[in-house]
């Protein structure tokens, strides 16, 4: 029995209310009130009007078959995590300037449908008397609350059947499904929905998720950098850490110079940019070090601004966001063509290290192969 996973995307709404089919038989949709209620506490029927006003958007997809209805095994948990990461990353690639909270802070549902109805016991109940807690912290480090219930109700075909629903709640629980302020946020137009569908397809092909852990850090850095209009010093540290993990995980010395040469070899579009970018990424690494070692970041950020010809902090922030976005975009293309590369992107690192050591002419050829499958070029 393949359970379905429904992942709420907080503060995302669809302009048309249409259902958009996604890769791997998943779909993006404003989940109807009736479909939501079927997963929820029957008393939620009172929230009809609120729910319809918010029209929450979910990505829903099937998980692999498992052994026990009512509890996900390790493989199923990983598949659920992939849906969360692919959905969240597709949103931030589609709307990079919009702060979208991680779905784990809100609500999600795992549902096993079409089970035969168990007969009630002496107390008229048809569920086990007790469930052991599942101490799971998701990859983002948010603690999820889980409530599992057994329901007997009409199924899709109208016949009475048994469902088991695991309700997964982050700290905001149902608030972003029901509060009127949840209508704020981004409304995806038809074009944006298509962009989301495209990105989700690329991410699925790249098998984005925990098995692409090193690349996922860049998406996480992009989320952080997009979460506030101000430049947060931790955002700089996170982006450099994410990039360094991809360009120099073996810690080849000197760290700052190696980081700068390889980042330049990855992001520059021509020889002139390559030379200029070495200085910029070296300064970025220096800024990260000063922040990480507890120096007041204001001076470091001023130097950084001067290195990239930016004046206000907003320009530095945009520059950082751009490179986080490009890294994610390029890595999706890489993994789509190199499915056997590992979570640490070992093959990618070797290819980039080699390209960074080449003369401009040979570098250009090798780099073209590294970034093949991307959707955007800098400048």
């Amino acid at each position: 029995m393949r359970p379905e996973f429904l992942c709420h995307l907080p503060f995302v709404r669809l302009e048309t209310g249409a259902v958009a089919p996604l890769a791997n038989d998943a779909r993006l949709e404003s989940l109807s009130f009736e479909d939501w209620l079927a997963l929820e506490d029957p008393a939620m029927e009172y929230y009809d009007r609120r729910y319809r006003e918010v029209a929450p958007v979910f990505v829903r997809g099937l998980l692999p078959d498992g052994t026990t209805a009512g509890r996900l095994d390790e493989e199923q948990e990983k598949a659920a995590e992939e849906i969360i990461e692919q959905a969240h990353t597709a949103v931030i690639l589609t709307a990079p300037a919009t702060p979208i909270p991680p779905p784990s802070l809100s609500a999600g549902y795992v549902v096993w449908r079409g089970l035969p109805c168990d007969p009630p016991d002496a107390d008229n109940c048809f569920c086990p008397p007790y469930l052991d807690p599942v101490p799971v912290v998701d990859d983002d480090g948010f603690q999820l609350g889980r409530i599992t219930v057994w329901l007997q109700q009409a199924g899709t075909g109208g016949a009475h059947e048994q469902w088991i629903v695991e309700r997964r709640f982050g700290p905001a629980q149902r608030e972003w499904l029901l509060a009127r302020h949840a209508r704020e946020g981004i409304v995806l137009s038809a074009d944006k929905v298509q962009a989301f569908v495209r990105q989700f397809g690329r991410l699925s092909q790249a098998r984005w998720g925990p098995r692409r852990a090193a690349a996922g850090r860049c998406a996480e850095a992009l989320t952080t950098l997009s979460s506030t209009p101000e430049l947060n010093p931790e955002g700089v540290v996170l982006l450099v850490a994410a990039l360094e993990n991809l360009v120099n995980a073996r810690a080849d010395r000197p760290l700052g110079d190696t980081f700068a040469r390889r980042c330049a070899a990855w992001f520059a579009e021509n020889a002139g940019e390559r030379m200029r970018d070495v200085g910029r990424f070296r300064r970025l690494y220096g800024t990260r070090s000063e922040i990480l070692h507890g120096t007041d970041p204001a001076t470091a950020l001023r130097d950084m601004a001067s290195a990239i010809d930016a004046t206000p902090h907003a320009e530095i922030l945009n520059w950082l966001r751009l490179h986080a976005w490009l890294a994610v975009d390029y890595l999706i293309g890489w993994y789509a063509r190199h499915a056997d590369d590992d979570a640490g992107a070992t093959q990618f690192q070797a290819a980039l290290a080699q390209a960074a050591n080449e003369t401009d002419e040979e570098w250009k050829n090798q780099r073209a192969r590294i970034v093949e499958g991307r959707t955007y070029a800098r400048g």
Partner: protein, 343 residues
């Protein structure tokens, strides 16, 4: 002119004043009411809660929430607070924010930042004004401290029947126990912080403290919180990198925690091995194949960093009037570090 009976003889009196309620999620009170820094922390029963919270919110999961202790920081006000832009919220946030900043330096536990709180100004005129928004979820269903026991039940509704087994809702974070003694310590720390603000408003200690406060944000993923914490660790105790004749970070941490009377067995090795490995994972993304228990790293780091922040705060504030403010580098010398300037 004949008296118009439809018009009252005197215009209705405008009623100002009321009480601001700030939810203190995760707070456990050792007494019914505890005063701290101008706010009164008190338990609110279901009846009072339903008077200040929206029905759609209080009606959710009634059976789950019935036994949950709800603590608010309460502040009476005399002025008009009929709009969301009322200054009363600013005053309440200022007092509450100072308590949060200090409390995090006093003991472990969860305090929600004022930017995420939903305060209510309950006016004497019977109207409530509430600040809500995407950044301010109510959090009533969030669980702090012990796991929440969710009782088994059967609920039938039209043609649906739901059966729920007995189970536990695991916590979203640790609780904070507030008693009289801690309330007084928090006030003392608020006073110390004010002194440092007057003495050295741009001191490097403030950068470390800001990062420490960010590391408590429940809405940030753990990796972000840890990145902030490692920044504080190195700011206070010096970098992981070791100079010639330098005792190193592990020894410095032991020196500080011994002064605070903490158990320091195996601490130096823990800092130099486990914390270094976790820090390198975050800073350079290395060793992805090695499994690291980041939850315990976070708890231990918070303890180490809290001790260091308190000691350095006392040490910096302990300078004579004629002295220039003492630096964090000078503090590190007192715990055995020899720190060179960053290249």
């Amino acid at each position: 002119m004949p008296e118009d009976k439809a018009v009252p003889a005197t215009p209705p009196t405008k009623v100002d004043g009321g009480t601001v309620y700030l939810p203190a999620h995760a707070l456990r009170l050792a007494a019914e009411r505890i005063a701290c820094h101008g706010l009164l922390f008190a338990r609110v029963d279901s009846e009072e809660w339903s008077a200040i919270e929206s029905l759609w919110m209080t009606d959710q999961e009634l059976d789950l929430w019935r036994g949950v202790e709800r603590v608010f920081a309460v502040m009476p006000y005399a002025e008009d607070a009929s709009t969301e832009s009322s200054t009363i919220f600013g005053r309440a946030f200022a007092a509450y924010g100072a308590i949060v900043e200090a409390a995090r330096l006093v003991a472990p536990g969860t305090w929600i930042d004022t930017v995420h709180l939903v305060p209510v100004a309950a006016g004497n005129n019977g109207f409530n004004v509430r600040l809500t928004g995407p950044e301010r979820p109510r959090l009533w269903a969030a669980v702090f401290g012990d796991p929440l026991k969710v009782h088994g039940r059967r609920r039938a509704w039209r043609n649906r029947v739901e059966c729920r087994p007995l189970q536990y809702h695991l916590p979203h974070g640790p609780a904070f126990l507030l008693d009289e003694s801690r309330a007084r310590i928090i006030e003392t720390v608020i006073g110390n912080l004010d002194n440092l603000r007057k003495l050295a408003p741009d001191h490097g200690w403030w950068f470390a403290n800001r990062a420490y406060q960010r590391a408590h944000d429940l809405f940030l993923p753990r990796r972000h919180r840890l990145t902030a914490l490692f920044g504080v660790l190195e700011a206070i105790y010096g970098p992981f990198r070791r100079e010639p004749c330098d005792a190193g970070l592990g020894v410095a941490v032991v020196a500080a925690l011994e002064r605070a009377g903490r158990d320091t067995s195996n601490l130096s090795a823990y800092v130099e091995r486990e914390l270094r490995q976790a820090r390198n994972r975050l800073a350079h993304g290395s060793d992805l194949a090695v499994s690291i228990d980041f939850a315990s790293v976070e708890a231990n780091l918070l303890e180490i960093v809290r001790t260091g922040l308190n000691q350095s705060l006392d040490w910096i504030c302990g300078c004579k009037d004629s002295e220039a403010p003492r630096t964090l580098g000078a503090f590190q010398l007192t715990i055995g570090r020899v720190v060179a300037e960053e290249d």
